[in-house]
C-alpha cells in the first residue's frame, strides 16, 4: 500500500467503493503516482485550492481594511460579499481588451500569462499540509526568491511595452522600488536559515529519530550543507522540532520581511508604481479586460505567496498541536486516517490569515510614500536592520549567550519524554 494520504481520505469518505479504489490505487501505483501528483498540483493544494484561497484572502483583506475604517466593505455579492473578488475577475474577463496602436500587442499579451505562471509556481513551494510543499528540493528558498524577482521583471516589462507616458513613469518607479526591496527581502528570509544552520551544527549528537518519526519529509541526514539549510521544508520542520517559531528568535527580521513584502506586492504605503491619484494606474494603465483579470489574480496569488512564506519561515507553517496525528510509521502501517494533514492545513490557514491581518492593518495605517522616500527607506533603514538581526544572531550563537544550548537541551528532553 502506498503511504499516500489521499487514498486514505477517499477510502474514508467512500467506504462503499473500497474495492474500486483499491484497484485504481494499484493501477496508479504502477504509473508511479503520476496521477496523484497531478491531483496535488491541480486540485489540492495546487492551482484550484490556491486560487480560491487567494480570492478568499482578498475578500478577507478588503473586509479588514473596511472595518478598520468603520465601513462595511464588500457586502452584497454572496454571503457578506465573499464572492466579490470572484465577481471582479469574472467581470474583467468579460470586458473588451483595448490595445493602443503604438504598443507591442503580442508582448503585452504574453506578460500577464507569464506573471500568472510565476505566481502559481511560486505557490507550489509553500508548505500547506505538511512541512514540505508540492515542490520541495534542497535549496528551494533561493529559487523562490529568484522567481519573485522575475515577477518584478514582468511588471517592468508591462509598463514598458505599453507606450504610454504614465506607463513609463510607473515602470521606472516600479523598477526602482522592486529592485531596491529585493535585498531586505532576501536578507530577512535568510535569517531563519541561519538559525537552522546553527541548530544543526551544535556539537551535540542530535537524535536522528526524533526527526524521522514524523516521517513527512525527505530528511535523511543531518542538514549540514548550505543547500539543505536553504530549504523551506527544513526550516519549517526545524521549528516544529525545536518547538519555537522563529518569530520569537528573530522578530526584527520578521518585521523587515513584512515591510519588504509589502513593497514587493505594491501595497500602501508602497503602492507608488500604481499610485492612482498621480499617474492614473502606472504600469497597469493600458491593460484592460482579460489581461487585467490575470494581473489581478496573479497579484492576489503573490499576496498569498508572501503571507505563506512568512508563516513557513517565521511561524512554523502547518506546525501546531495535532499536526502529526496519524502520520507516524506505525499509524500508516495500520491504515489510520491521516488527521495530521487536516490539522496541518487548519494551522497553516490560521497563521496565514493572521499575517494577512497584520498586512491589512499596516495598509490602513499609512499614506503613500514618494519614490525617493521609498528608496531611501530601503537603503537607510531596512537593509541595516536586516543586517543587524543577522549580526545579533551570529553573536548569540557564537558566544552561546542566553544559554541557547541549555534551553534546547531542556526542550529536547521534554520532547523525548513526551
Amino acid at each position: 500500500m502506498a503511504f499516500d494520504p489521499f487514498w486514505y481520505i477517499l477510502l474514508y469518505l467512500f467506504p462503499q467503493y473500497s474495492s474500486t479504489l483499491t484497484i485504481l490505487q494499484y493501477i496508479f501505483q504502477q504509473q508511479g503516482n503520476v496521477l496523484m501528483d497531478l491531483f496535488k498540483i491541480i486540485v489540492f493544494p495546487g492551482i484550484l485550492f490556491v486560487s480560491f484561497l487567494s480570492l478568499f484572502a482578498e475578500w478577507y483583506d478588503r473586509k479588514i481594511y473596511a472595518r478598520l475604517q468603520n465601513r462595511v466593505g464588500p457586502f452584497h455579492t454572496g454571503y457578506h460579499g465573499i464572492l466579490q473578488p470572484l465577481a471582479d475577475i469574472i467581470k474583467l474577463l468579460a470586458k473588451e481588451d483595448v490595445v493602443q496602436s503604438g504598443a507591442e500587442a503580442r508582448s503585452l499579451a504574453a506578460a500577464p500569462i507569464f506573471a500568472m505562471t510565476l505566481s502559481l509556481v511560486m505557490l507550489m513551494f509553500i508548505p500547506v499540509y505538511r512541512s514540505a510543499g508540492i515542490i520541495s528540493f534542497e535549496g528551494d528558498l533561493i529559487v523562490v526568491l529568484f522567481l519573485s524577482t522575475l515577477f518584478a521583471l514582468t511588471v517592468i516589462l508591462t509598463g514598458w511595452f505599453s507606450t504610454n507616458r504614465f506607463g513609463e513613469v510607473g515602470t521606472a518607479r516600479a523598477g526602482m522600488q522592486l529592485i531596491a526591496y529585493e535585498i531586505p527581502l532576501v536578507l530577512s528570509a535568510l535569517t531563519p536559515a541561519i538559525i537552522v544552520a546553527y541548530y544543526y551544527s551544535v556539537p551535540v549528537q542530535v537524535n536522528n529519530y526524533l526527526l524521522t518519526v514524523y516521517g513527512t519529509l525527505p530528511l535523511t541526514a543531518i542538514p549540514t550543507t548550505l543547500s539543505s539549510i536553504l530549504t523551506i521544508a527544513n526550516i519549517t520542520q526545524t521549528q516544529a522540532t525545536i518547538g519555537i517559531p522563529f518569530i520569537l528568535v528573530a522578530p526584527i527580521s520578521f518585521g523587515v520581511f513584512i515591510i519588504a513584502l509589502m513593497a514587493e506586492i505594491e501595497k500602501v504605503p508602497f503602492d507608488v508604481p500604481e499610485a492612482h491619484t498621480e499617474i492614473v494606474a502606472g504600469w497597469q494603465t493600458e491593460i484592460s479586460g482579460k489581461k487585467l483579470a490575470l494581473y489581478r489574480l496573479s497579484s492576489d496569488l503573490e499576496y498569498l505567496w508572501g503571507a505563506g512564506l512568512a508563516t513557513a519561515l517565521f511561524l512554523g507553517g502547518p506546525w501546531g498541536p495535532g499536526w502529526d496525528i496519524g502520520l507516524s510509521t506505525l499509524d500508516r502501517l495500520m491504515g489510520a486516517f491521516p488527521w495530521g494533514y487536516v490539522f496541518g492545513t487548519i494551522w497553516f490557514l490560521v497563521k496565514v490569515f493572521a499575517v494577512i491581518f497584520i498586512i491589512a492593518n499596516l495598509r490602513t495605517l499609512f499614506a503613500r510614500f514618494r519614490i525617493d522616500q521609498v528608496v531611501q527607506g530601503a537603503w537607510k533603514y531596512l537593509i541595516p536592520l536586516a543586517f543587524l538581526n543577522i549580526l545579533i544572531l551570529q553573536t548569540v550563537f557564537y558566544f552561546d549567550l542566553f544559554g541557547w544550548q541549555s534551553t534546547y537541551y531542556a526542550l529536547l528532553w521534554i520532547a523525548y519524554m513526551i
Binding site: 513613469v169 518607479r173 503602492d271 495605517l365 503613500r368 514618494r370 525617493d372
Partner: protein, 392 residues
C-alpha cells in the same frame, strides 16, 4: 536629458473637475508646469443678466456646490447695499452661522480629499464620516444638505428655532474634538509629515506678489482675512482669531484649515448663545436703483468678490464674479517648479481648487492688443481644431 510632457489632463483620477495641468518632467522631477482652465465654463455671468435679482440668487448658488452659500451671501449683501437697507440683526446672525457651518463642511471635505491625494484613504473615510454630522445639522436648519437657499434679499428665509440649538451645540462639541484629533494626528503621523512638509513651498513675498488669497496666503504667514479686514454680516461682533502658520508648505495649509475649523466651532457656539431676538428678513422692493457695488466675503477658499451693476430695473446689468481659486492658480504654477511628480496632485489640491468657480474667460491677444468674446459655437469650433492639431 530631454523633458517629457505629461498631461494631468482634463480626465484624471486626481482631479474632481476638469482642468489641465501640463507638467514637463525630467525623470521624476518637474521642471515646469502650466495650468489651462476653461473646461468648466458655463456662461453664468451672462445668464445672470437675463434673470431678476431673486432668481439670480438661486443661479449663483449653483456656481459651486461646496461654497454655494458664500456666493449668495456676497450677492445679497451687494444688492442690499444698492438698496441701502439694513438687514435685521437676527437675520445677519443666522446668515453668519450658516456661513461658518459651510466653512466647516468645506474644510472637512478638503481634508478628506487631501488625504486621498497622498494615498491615505483611511483619513478620507474618517473625515467624511465626521462631515456627515455637519451635513445633518445643515439639513436640519435649511432643508437641504448642499445648496441651502437660506439667503434672500433682505435676510434669511428660515429661522433657527429653540429646539435646534442644543443639537447644534452638541454637534459643535463633537466636531471640535475630532478636529483637535486630526491636528494631533497630522503633526504626528510620519508618512503624512513626509508627504506634506517641505512640499509646495510658497514663500511669503511670492504669495503677496502672485496675489494668493485665503488659506493659501495665510499658510505663508500673511495675516489677510476678509472677515477681519472688511467685516460683513455679523463678523464685526463675533470674537475670533485669524489663523496663520509660518512654514509656507502644504503642511501649513493643512494646519491653517484645521485651526480655522476649530475657530468656526467656537464662533458658532458664541453666536448661538448671543442670538438677538429680532426679525429674520425685511421685505424689500424688487426694483433696484442705479448704482454699482463691489461686495467681498471670505469664502472657505479665500476672498470672493462680486461686482454688481444695476440700472433701475429688476434685472442686473452686469454681474462679475471673481472667485478665490482663480486668484490662486498663478501660485500653483510657481509651486510646481522643482517638485516631484508625486507631489503634483497634493500641490494642486492644497489651494483647494474649486474648478467650477474658476472659469470666466475673456480672450486677450497680447500681440494684436485687442480683446474679444466668443459665443459657444465659435468656442466649440476652436476647441475641435485645437485638439486636432494636438497642441499641448
Amino acid at each position: 536629458m530631454s523633458t517629457v510632457k505629461i498631461p494631468i489632463g482634463p480626465q484624471h483620477p486626481a482631479l474632481k473637475e476638469p482642468i489641465n495641468v501640463t507638467i514637463e518632467v525630467e525623470g521624476e522631477q518637474v521642471v515646469d508646469g502650466k495650468v489651462r482652465i476653461g473646461y468648466n465654463h458655463r456662461g453664468i455671468e451672462k445668464a445672470c443678466e437675463l434673470r431678476t435679482y431673486v432668481r439670480d440668487i438661486y443661479l449663483l448658488e449653483r456656481v459651486c456646490g461646496i461654497c454655494s452659500h458664500s456666493h449668495t451671501t456676497t450677492f445679497t449683501q451687494g444688492v442690499e447695499e444698492l438698496l441701502d437697507e439694513d438687514v435685521p440683526r437676527r437675520g445677519l446672525y443666522i446668515r453668519t452661522i450658516v456661513c461658518e457651518l459651510e466653512r466647516l463642511h468645506s474644510h472637512m471635505l478638503w481634508f478628506g480629499v487631501a488625504g486621498h491625494e497622498i494615498g491615505f484613504d483611511t483619513l478620507l473615510h474618517y473625515s467624511w464620516r465626521d462631515r456627515e454630522l455637519i451635513l445633518d445639522l445643515l439639513e436640519m436648519i435649511s432643508g437641504n444638505r448642499v445648496n441651502y437657499a437660506m439667503n434672500t434679499i433682505g435676510g434669511v428665509r428660515r429661522d433657527i428655532s429653540k429646539d435646534m440649538i442644543p443639537t447644534l451645540k452638541k454637534g459643535m462639541d463633537t466636531f471640535r474634538e475630532r478636529c483637535e484629533y486630526y491636528l494631533k494626528l497630522c503633526s504626528e503621523e510620519p508618512t503624512v509629515l513626509e508627504r506634506t512638509q517641505g512640499v509646495g513651498v510658497l514663500p511669503t513675498h511670492m504669495a503677496r506678489k502672485l496675489g494668493a488669497v485665503g488659506p493659501t496666503v495665510r499658510a505663508s504667514g500673511v495675516d489677510m482675512d476678509c472677515r477681519k479686514d472688511d467685516p460683513c454680516a455679523a463678523y464685526d461682533e463675533v470674537p475670533f482669531e485669524v489663523c496663520t502658520w509660518d512654514s509656507c508648505d502644504v503642511f501649513a495649509r493643512v494646519a491653517v484649515r484645521i485651526l480655522e475649523m476649530i475657530q468656526s466651532c467656537n464662533m458658532i457656539q458664541w453666536m448661538l448663545d448671543h442670538l438677538p431676538k429680532d426679525e429674520i428678513r425685511l421685505k424689500l422692493k424688487r426694483r433696484v436703483p442705479e448704482g454699482e457695488v463691489l461686495s467681498r466675503y471670505e469664502a472657505p477658499r479665500g476672498e470672493l468678490i462680486h461686482y454688481i451693476k444695476s440700472n433701475g430695473t429688476d434685472t442686473p446689468e452686469r454681474v462679475k464674479v471673481r472667485t478665490p481659486t482663480l486668484a490662486n492658480w498663478p501660485s500653483v504654477e510657481y509651486m510646481l517648479k522643482g517638485c516631484y511628480i508625486a507631489d503634483v496632485p497634493i500641490i494642486v489640491a492644497s489651494i483647494d481648487p474649486c474648478i467650477s468657480c474658476t472659469d470666466r474667460i475673456t480672450f486677450v491677444d497680447v500681440e494684436k492688443e485687442k480683446t474679444w468674446m466668443w459665443d459657444s459655437n465659435q468656442l466649440r469650433r476652436y476647441g475641435i481644431e485645437f485638439y486636432k492639431k494636438k497642441r499641448w
